[in-house]
Structure formats: C-alpha cells, structure tokens
Symmetry: C2
Subunit: 382 residues, 2 copies
C-alpha cells in the first residue's frame, strides 16, 4: 500500500475504484454461508457487469450465475459461463435471443409468472423443437412479481412448460422487502418466508406429477441471515460482492466491507456555507438516495481519504450532474477537514449497482502486496 | 407515422427513443428567445452527449457549445466543434488535457472561482507559453460554486489570469436554484439575479482595467423566462432540447414538448395490487426522482402508449434494477388500461440528463414524413 496514494493520484477523476481484497473477503463470507446451509450459490452478476469480476466470484470462474439482462447473459456466456439464470420475467419478444444463446451451448434458464408467458415459451419451444427451461417466480413478500404458492395457475403454468418440452426447471423467489428492515433477525424472517413459499410451491408442483429440481431463493440480506434452507437448492445474491452504504445501513455489513468507491478531486470551496465542492456529482455517484429513508442518511455518499479512511460525519450532501457538495452531517460536532483544491478523496456509494453502472471500468487495487493498479472493463446495455 | 408502431415494435427493450420533431421545436424556441434578447446561445451538450444531436442543435452545427466533462470537450472537438466552454470548476490535474485540446485547435475555455485555481492556471499557461483562457464563476443564488460579485478576490483572480497570459475571458453564473421555483415570473426573477450578478462582476473587472468580453448566464428555466439581458453576451441551457417531467412540473414546458422517452415491454401483472410490470427499471430510467418534491409526483416516469399518447394518471410508481412497476397515481379515478404481456409502452422521464446517461444510443423518430427509425450513438465517461 506504500505507493497507493501516488498511484490513485495518476487517475483521471471521477472514476470507480475497487478494493479487490475486500471483494474477495465478501465473496468468501457468502460462499462459506452457502456451504454451511448446504445450497449452491448462484451469484448475481448484475452488480458487477464485469468478466474480470465474474472470474473471481463464480465457482471455478464459470460456475452457476444469475443475470438481469440478456446483454449480461450474452457477455458472460461468451466468456465461458455456461449455466445462467436470467432472473427477470421474460418478454416473449426476447425468446429468439434466448434460443440463440442456448444454441451456443449456454444453459440459459428464464423466468415466468403467468400463463401468458408460459404459453409463449411453450409455443417458442415447440416451434424451435428445443427446450427453453424456465423457473416459475413465486411471490414471498408482495415485493413485485411472482405467483402465490397457492395460486391455482401455478400447476397449469408448470404443466404448460413441462408438456410442451420447454422444460420446467423449478421455482424461484426474491424477498425484495427484506431491504426495508434492519438486522439479522428481521432478515432471517424474510429468509424463512422465501424458503417456505418456494418449498410449498415445489411440493405442489411435485404433487401434481411435475418435476421441480431447482428451488432458488435469495437477496443479499436474506442470503446472509438465512438459518435453515431445507428444501432449497440454490441461493442468489448480487450486491454482496461489493456491499454499499445501504447494506451497511440495514446491518448486513460494516462500512469497512465496502469494496467500491468513487475517486474524486476537490474543485472548490464555499467556506461561509461549510461546503467543499468535488468533481463527482450524480453522474459519477448515480442518483441513488437509498439511504435517505434509513436511520443514517448518507447523502450521495460517505467521504474517505484517498486510502479509504472515513472522515467523521463528512458526506456528499448534494449533487448536480458533475458537482458534488461535501459538508458535515447536520448536527455534527466534527471539524471540516482542510481539503485544498486538487485534493483526492474517495466516496463510498449508497448503492453499488447504481454507482457501478455510471462507469465504464473499475480501477482495481489488487489483492496482494505492492501491486500495480489494474483496470477491469464494465459493460452495460440490454 | 403510419408504420411507427411496427417499427418501434422491432426494437429490443428497454431503449431510449428520441422524437426529433419535438427536439427541433424546442431548439427553435430557445434560439428565437436568444435572438430576441440579443445574446448568443451556447447550448449545453451535457444532456445530449451525442455528436448527431450536437449537429442539429449548434449554430451551423459547430457553433458555440458548453460541456460538463473533458470527455465531452474531446468528443465534440473531434467532431468539429471548436468553441467550447467547460463549465465545471477546473481541477489543476486536468490542465494538461485542456492544453492538449487547445493545441488541437479548439478554443476551450475553462472555469475558476478561486485564487488557488487561478494561480494553477497561470502557472500552467506560463509553463506552456500558451493561453488557457478562463471565465470566473459568479454566485448569483447560493446554489453551489462561484464568488460574490463583490468578493475582493474577484479582481485578484482576474489579474492573475490576465497578467500570466492565461487569459481572462469573462464571467459566468448558473442560477441552479431556479429549478426550485415554478412559473415564468419566478424564473424571470432568477434570470434578473443572473444578469445583475454577472454584469456587476464584469463592471468591477473592467473598472480594474481588466478585460471581460464574455458575460455568460443561464439555466433552462432562466433562459426561457429572461426578459432583459442587457450587459449579458451569452446564454446557456442544456435540458431544453429534450425537456422532461421536472421542467414540465415547474412550468417551463408542456408534457407534449418532451422529446425523450424509454420504450418498454410489459412482462407481468399483479392484478390484486393494480400493478403492471415492465422491463424498464431504474437502470433504464435512472434513479432520478426529481418530481418527488414537486406538486405532481411522477414516480419514475409517466406512461404513454407506443405512439406517445399519455395514459391518464398512469405512472411508474416504483423501480428495481430491471423492473418497473406501473400503477395509477394514488387517488386517481382513471381505469387501469388493459396492457397484456408483450405490450409496448413509452415512459416519459423525470430528468432527461439522467435517463439519457443510462443508454448507449438514441432510437430516433425522424422529423419528416414516413421516415425509417435512426440510431444515434451517445457517449459517457470523463
């Protein structure tokens, strides 16, 4: 770390910095949790959107993965990932791209939660003479999509997929509402709901004579808090590899687990207002204000020095497109640090998925002694 | 427009759609306003980030422009734009790129608001033996950067720039607080403050024997509401070329002036909750919730049919990374439209700058009869 400051000082700002050692620690933590629970971890790559990160996060570098777009599926499949779940309800117009990816040897599995979708998938599979295996999305907490495990359509959807040759691969749920509660006990309760809902749906399908090999659950809070996943086969999580202020705010991680930050440069001051202006605005941080409704509002991010040491109570209190305004948290008794024009800072983001998406690459502090900075490309789009 | 629906139905979703006729109408409106006020319009390209848009927005396709990043300056200069204002306070580390662009024949002008910056610019200009002309940022409303027109440092900054050979080009202000008020009269008051502050600063510099050829003001609300810009030479605005729900919410434009939308596909329903799920979440819309504090909260966007006709009271009420949840506005007496899985919609965004930045290209409905859709690339980064 001797020359780290000097190396970060060479980078144009704003830019995205990734602490590989922290990332690897986060990855090991959840891998151990999945192993202890006896389930397969299927990391969600929507946060990372990087082949280099995927190589370090997936089992064997290629192992089961989850994605949120077909662009991710296509990019990771081209990089050798051959077991992918596209975990957003399918639009029928996307089935030709799904088939094309499967034809290239990727076991891409899709998601449905309606008879309309199941019939479209069945028709496409019949027309192609090839399977298009799907999971059925189960709603465990009223968050967004999915059927109730007791919905009478469940069996008909399963039968439509199975009988057409498309293939019924199993069931899946996502307890997105777990983001709204804090602490391990509260997250464990949502993990129980994920397990109970999916296991009930799987048992209903099996009782109807249908296959249901996969029972897939997860969100970063529930994945870390789950205590018993009997009947579940796979666990999903995405933001855990980097973590962020939102996850720290609900007690899933500590601030020093955060692997991602935005490097910025001081460009001005308004001493009468106690403001320090930086060249990282919402274009660099994203517009995400997820901590606004948490116990501690972190503004657009928490300010650290270039080595990553947090300044007490110093946050990006406001952001324009290319300007961030740094100030002490309201009511703080801390002293505004002396940060002259040209000084370098690192800002910890509210939401790693959103902040990452604003950047074309990671500048990586490698895990190991005295390494040079690396640059890993990111991608976006659909 | 006969085949427009069919053409939009061919596009993968989510994607960004630009209505060129609306854009040209918005551009003509502000050009006429600048002409009537007797000032030069210097459009801000931070919203568009597209060479194709710049060609249609700038005077003669190359004329004066404003940018928010050096990446924009470099891209537009390479496309033939040779008169550019980089309107974010300069970090000294960025001066080598500024000099390199100036060496390539672009009259790139930078912004300073402190003696520290002015001295760094003066030193760099002396070391290079070349001018690095700058505007001095004036604070007219307490929004972010800039000096008071009466700040004693103003003259010393001007003299430092001028005497070093860097070059004092003039003064600039941005009434960002005008976004927080509604209606022409309120915006006109901020336009008066912009004019009064910059003209006072220009007069102070000239009284000290310093040159001040440029007096530059602007924001989209003040640019449209200004009534008298005596003493001002240049007007800036950016989002006006596309407009957005935020600008409509403060009365700068009407909903049918909005040129930008996100094309999305219905992927599911939760009938018990009155929800329609689409494949445009915050990754496609951005996390911008700028209308949340306005009289009418538009959620993550206002829902239109594929031809751009607004559905009464239908908004994207919530967004996850790749999911949008559409619902009727709370308290609405409208009926939820019947939009089956696979239906195409267009979502008007809160903030064109933020939504545009989430996409790699515009899919353009051309201005003219019966045109094919075009695709214009966008760029990002710093």
């Amino acid at each position: 770390m001797t020359d780290l400051t000097a190396r970060l000082d060479q980078l144009p700002t704003p830019c995205l910095v990734l602490d590989e050692a922290r990332m690897r620690r986060n990855v090991r933590r959840l891998a151990a949790q999945a192993q202890a629970l006896g389930v397969t971890l299927r990391p969600h790559l929507k946060t990372a959107k990087s082949v280099e990160v995927a190589r370090r996060v997936l089992t064997g570098g290629t192992g089961p993965a989850t994605v949120s777009t077909l662009a991710e599926a296509e990019t990771f499949a081209a990089a050798g990932v051959h077991d992918i779940l596209y975990a957003v309800g399918i639009a029928p117009q996307k089935l030709p791209r799904v088939l094309a990816l499967r034809d290239r040897g990727c076991d891409l599995v899709i998601l449905v939660d309606s008879l309309t979708q199941a019939r479209a998938v069945a028709d496409a599979a019949r027309a192609a003479g090839k399977p298009i295996p799907a999971l059925i999305e189960i709603d465990s907490d009223g968050h967004r999509g999915g059927l109730s495990a007791r919905d009478p359509d469940l069996i008909e959807i399963g039968r439509t997929l199975h009988d057409s040759g498309a293939g019924l691969r199993g069931v899946m749920t996502h307890a997105g509402e777990s983001y709204g509660v804090s602490g391990r006990a509260a997250h464990a309760e949502f993990a129980r709901r994920e397990r109970d809902a999916t296991v009930a749906a799987a048992e209903a399908l099996r009782a109807a004579g249908l296959p249901c090999p996969v029972v897939n659950v997860g969100s970063t809070p529930t994945a870390h808090a789950a205590e018993d996943l009997s009947g579940v086969t796979e666990l999903r999580a995405g933001v855990y590899m980097f973590f962020d202020l939102f996850m720290a705010g609900i007690g899933v991680c500590d601030i020093d687990d955060l692997a991602l930050s935005v490097l910025a440069t001081v460009i001005g001051h308004q001493p009468d207002r106690g403001w320090i202006l930086i060249d990282a605005g919402w274009m660099a941080m994203s517009r995400d204000r997820g901590t606004a409704t948490q116990a501690v509002d972190q503004g657009y991010g928490l300010v650290c020095d270039v080595r990553g040491r947090v300044y007490p109570d110093l946050i990006v209190k406001a952001a324009n497109q290319e300007h961030g305004i740094i100030a002490l948290r309201p009511g703080s008794s801390a002293t505004l640090p002396d940060l002259p024009v040209g000084a370098r800072l690192r800002i910890l983001p509210n939401h790693a998925c959103a902040t990452g998406a604003q950047h074309a690459s990671y500048h990586v502090i490698p895990d190991g002694p005295d390494g040079e900075l690396l640059e890993w490309p990111r991608f976006g789009g659909w």
